[in-house]
């Protein structure tokens, strides 16, 4: 049985401007000990998906209007707030993008690490303190015992994210959701945090959902990858398969738009930009949501008429497009400036 099964999740925001379909029919599973990467640009629904799993969205305006989230077989949507609290931080932990704002600036680091363990594991202060020191050592913070009494401002960004990770793993969760965990950090620090996450994942046999906008970060850390666009999954495959044979025009375009770090003619060349911008999710295109920016769609074919289904194009490789790479017969339209 999969650890987490998200089935046809639909999270909408009811605003004055209309209903924003932020997450619109998202399904995936996470296996124990594995990492699922969710990749996409701002506003594609990747963070809202994570927050929906944790029931952390303010309702209203948000509302989960359809689908289910099953963790070890239990439907999280049917749990009471009280039972959810036993799951959050304990069975499923989460770390956020900004290590500057996700720690409480008025509480000592030690207090913040111990709090979770006292709540969930029923440890007394002494036990919790002992465990907190061990945790800080595990996330490689030097001088762990002394640093428990420091406030967050004494730590750098990378160190704060290490503290957040220590809190997240303190109750030995089965699933860690990491929402852009390295986006605010410098590249050399980022590499260290990704290595740490992987190390802890092995040690704690923890599954992970890694949410990021960075194709490089998922290439480094994910076993399986979900690509999201405009509230939907547009492509889903094992990591190697996805990077070797991207099928969806959007995935291809995203990879093409990335500046290369090695190769010939980089300075002289132009990047393959994706024209236009993502649709307004209060009023998305009626059929294929990528069609207005897609070099392979035209007004005559199905792209503008019926929404493409997410279909399996090869074993384990799913794509939502009428024109996946391996079925293409036409040349791309010349992209405009």
């Amino acid at each position: 049985m999969a650890l987490l099964e998200v089935d046809n999740l639909q999270t909408h925001f009811f605003t004055r401007e209309g209903v924003v379909r932020a997450v619109d029919g998202v399904s995936f599973t996470v296996e124990p000990g594995k990492t699922l990467g969710i990749v996409g640009e701002s506003g594609c629904g990747k963070s809202v998906t994570a927050l929906s799993i944790m029931s952390l969205l303010p309702q209203p305006p948000a509302k989960i209007v359809g689908g289910s989230v099953r963790f070890e077989g239990f439907d999280l949507a049917k749990l009471s707030e009280r039972d959810l609290e036993d799951v959050r931080g304990n069975e499923i932990a989460m770390i956020f993008q900004d290590p500057m704002t996700s720690l409480n600036p008025t509480l000592k680091i030690g207090t913040q690490i111990m709090e979770t363990m006292q709540r969930h594991l029923g440890l007394d202060r002494k036990q919790a303190k002992q465990r907190a020191i061990e945790l800080l050592e595990e996330v490689h913070i030097p001088g762990a015992a002394d640093r428990l009494n420091d406030y967050p401002h004494r730590f750098s960004g990378g160190m704060r994210q290490r503290v957040m990770i220590a809190i997240a793993i303190s109750c030995n969760p089965k699933l860690l959701i990491a929402d852009e965990p390295t986006t605010a950090l410098d590249v050399t620090v980022q590499a260290g945090i990704l290595d740490l996450l992987e190390e802890l994942q092995e040690e704690y046999e923890m599954a992970m959902i890694l949410i990021t906008h960075d194709m490089g970060v998922v290439a480094e850390a994910a076993d399986d990858i979900v690509v999201m666009y405009a509230g939907q999954i547009v492509e889903q495959a094992a990591s190697l398969e996805l990077f070797d044979h991207p099928e969806h025009p959007y995935t291809e375009a995203l990879l093409g738009a990335l500046p290369q770090i090695e190769g010939e003619g980089i300075r002289e060349g132009r990047l393959t930009a994706i024209p236009g911008r993502p649709p307004d999710l209060a009023d998305p295109p009626p059929a294929c949501r990528f069609a207005p920016r897609c070099p392979f769609s035209d007004r005559e074919d199905s792209c503008a008429k019926e929404p493409p289904e997410l279909r399996q194009i090869r074993s384990g490789h799913w794509v939502r497009s009428a024109h996946p790479a391996s079925e293409r017969t036409r040349e791309p339209a010349v992209a405009s400036k």
Partner: protein, 285 residues
């Protein structure tokens, strides 16, 4: 030989920290920029790359005299900027402009798009009201922004569109040098590519010279002829882009390059193994 458009030599910006209320003691100095030298020939791009706090943005501001350097020289178009009187520096600002990182905070929310782009023209008394209006439309057209929207406000546009407005404003006076301070780091990948292409096209069209500041090594590579790598206020490595990226000599450059995530799972796996070995070696002594 003609002097390059911009010659920076031993540039320094030290911020002093003081303590005490009445009798302020000089405590320490933060050497944000500490002896930086480089030159940029006309029409070329120097990429200044480094991590947060390395002093790259401060260097950019010092070049434009937006903050006063505490030492060193900045020669622009053959003139020593650090010794020029204020009025003359202001006049020279026509020739040197800046594009900021954050298109959300660098445009005045109470000014229309047209007014934002026209402002440099008004400040420098260029043209009449009518010719300015025509110039604004022309500028917006050049950067790929619909000139029909001149009466709208910045909040009505996305990050990419706003950055186009910022670029149009920088172009308004027909400058020779543009300091691009992290111009795409707030943008999504697909939009980032549009803006980088635009900057390349504008350089070709108007022969612009760029000081291109960014933390993203791939972005810098795609834009630059020469690269300077900054760490703690100093340039630790410099050279033609190709050379710095393929044969880095400084340890810091090497560690930056091996830390950049690239969209290739096999390569990333190999690097991970490398890093693990390096750490084990470090731990062993």
């Amino acid at each position: 030989m003609r002097e390059p458009l911009l010659v920076v030599k031993d540039l320094e910006k030290h911020f002093t920290r003081r303590e005490g209320l009445l009798f302020q003691r000089h405590v320490s100095a933060v050497k944000a920029v500490d002896g930086v030298s480089f030159e940029i020939p006309e029409g070329k791009t120097l990429g200044l790359v480094g991590e947060s706090g390395s002093g790259k943005s401060t260097t950019g501001y010092c070049v434009l005299q937006l903050i006063k350097p505490t030492g060193g020289s900045v020669r622009f178009m053959g003139k020593e900027l650090t010794e020029l009187p204020r009025g003359q520096v202001r006049k020279l600002r026509r020739e040197m402009q800046i594009v900021f990182q954050d298109p959300y905070s660098s445009l005045d929310p109470r000014m229309t798009v047209g007014d934002i782009v026209a402002e440099p023209l008004i400040v420098h008394s260029v043209g009449s009201r009518r010719t300015r209006s025509a110039r604004v439309r022309e500028l917006l057209d050049v950067v790929g922004f619909d000139p029909g929207y001149t009466n709208r406000y910045p909040h009505e546009f996305s990050g990419g569109q706003r950055q186009r407005i910022g670029i149009a404003r920088a172009l308004a006076l027909g400058p020779k040098l543009i300091v691009c301070d992290e111009p795409v780091s707030a943008l999504d990948v697909s939009i980032q590519a549009q803006i980088l292409n635009l900057l390349k096209d504008l350089q070709d069209e108007f022969g612009l010279t760029y000081l291109f500041i960014a933390h993203d090594l791939a972005v810098v590579r795609s834009m630059s002829d020469e690269i300077a790598v900054m760490q703690s206020g100093k340039i630790v490595e410099t050279g033609p882009a190709e050379q710095v990226y393929t044969q880095p000599t400084h340890e810091y450059t090497k560690s930056l390059l091996t830390s950049v995530p690239i969209p290739d799972p096999r390569e990333m796996e190999a690097r991970k193994v490398e890093r693990r070995k390096a750490r084990a070696a470090l731990a062993a002594g």
